[in-house]
Amino acid sequence: MTTVANVAAPSWFRVFLAAVRSEWLKLRTVRSTIWALLVTLVITVGLGALFSAARVSRWDRLDPRERLIFDPAGFSLNGLFLAQLAIGVLGVLVMSSEYATGQIRATFGATPQRRTVLAAKVVVYAVVVLVVGLVACFAAFTVGQAIFSTKHAQAALSDPGVLRAVLGGAVYLSLLGAIAIGLGAILRRTAGAIATLVGFLLILPILVSFLPDPWNDDISKYLPSEAGAAIFHVRPRMATVSPGAGLALLCAYAAASLLIGATLLSARDA
């Protein structure tokens, strides 16, 4: 039995490091993590290759102007549009599965500093997603360019903006993971948080596109999915913000989601 008076209280940083170690153990000891990350990898590379092959097969029939604005780097990363859902769902589960199983009581019982727990979850998940995202994006880029090279339309990493776009794909996934954890903390229910996430990423852009000009473009470029597209494309598509602004926007979304989540976690009963 520990004699309390003799134990010096650990510093905030030790509590945080212990929480990070704990969250890392949690993340790697459930199967859904392995599955979601594997799916991310397969979809990013596989779907990217499929889209690229389809584009190459129609290459000779493309309008010369279309060939001119073709973005081979960005195009090879198109699988991210689906892969982002796997990362988002797993991010929501990082938080909501604890509420669903009741394990959150063990978590907050062990670490009553709830915002520290949230910070540890975000750091662990964002880093894991960044690593997986880097592997996936570089692989998708490499495979895509090999396909485009049959028409001599490939990009090289040394071309302007290409490295930024490939790295950007991984950063986008990582920030999206952080947004999803925040949503999980805010809503606590898996279904609700996933529905909200899908709404933001896929449904809101469609709804906005039905707005009259010029509101549709003015609004849609600030949505998370369009901000992300600005980061991992080399040639900005119509009505997107600059890559830097896209990154700043996504960081702002993540910060908002996590700040609201942290505030609610501290204020509510577990």
Binding site: M1, T2, V4, V7, A9, P10, W12, R14, V15, A18, A19, R21, S22, E23, L25, K26, T29, V30, R31, S32, S97, E98, T101, G102, Q103, R105, A106, T107, F108, G109, A110, T111, P112, Q113, D269, A270
Partner: protein, 309 residues
Amino acid sequence: MIEAVRVTKRYGTTLAVDDLSFTVPDGQVTGFLGPNGAGKSTTMRLTIGLDAPTSGRITINGRNYTEMRFPLHEVGALLEAKAIHPGRSARSHLRWLAASNGIKPSRVDEVLERVGLASVARRRAGGFSLGMGQRLGIAAALLGDPGVLLLDEPVNGLDPEGILWVRHLLRSLAAEGRAILVSSHLMNEIALTADHLVVIGKGRLIADGSVRDFIGRSSTNHVRVVTPQADALQRLVEAHGASVTQDGAETLSITGLECREVGVLAANNAITLYELSPQQATLEEAFMEMTRGSIEFQGEAHPAESSVS
């Protein structure tokens, strides 16, 4: 030591805990009793900071739980068995808990051994029986070798061997000087395990004291007498303020007088006694009597009537 001082917890319009004060001393097992919905689990949640009290405070060794860093070294809690991710193994579950409080991984194997789960440590917890889940919960509570333990219904779902094991475990942990708060709906189990009782009903304190005192206050304590002169004895003791029920031609149950007094009265009046014995209420009877007015959910037959002999 756990100290609750005028704690109140309100959920919306429901008053779950109402101005509750009690103490859980070191070196003893304190039984935490109350009918369903009395606020036992809420009180335990408040103690480890999962819920915040509306007013008042609960401290452990003088501090709020939420102020503690690495609290598992000071407090172990089992609030709900199987509140764990079903896909994780027992060992992985304890590993992350240990890591969160800087506890070395070798301690995980120690506690798994202690609760008898070493052989299933690598199995997914989702396949565990309720009893195995309880053992895992107890292992988690013991992880940081804490001086204070809170256990909500720890024997729920355990087989007789497991119940006996928990009883011995709690006794030996208390003997080491730890403060233990344990709730259970198994009154006989609490009577055998606890030294001290905290009884609540509808969120309010009903009793805080030793098990002996609690049972001693029950009106179901009585003196049983077998005598051929039942009518004469009945008139005699009633004249001395006792109340009597006749349980057959020669048997009387007397409340309000001690054995010694009944014996002296009988001797002075030349009444023959075949048997004179004190009948102590069980903890269950004492509990039913005390909580009669504070039962939240009640069946048609009054529970107190069906079980008081």
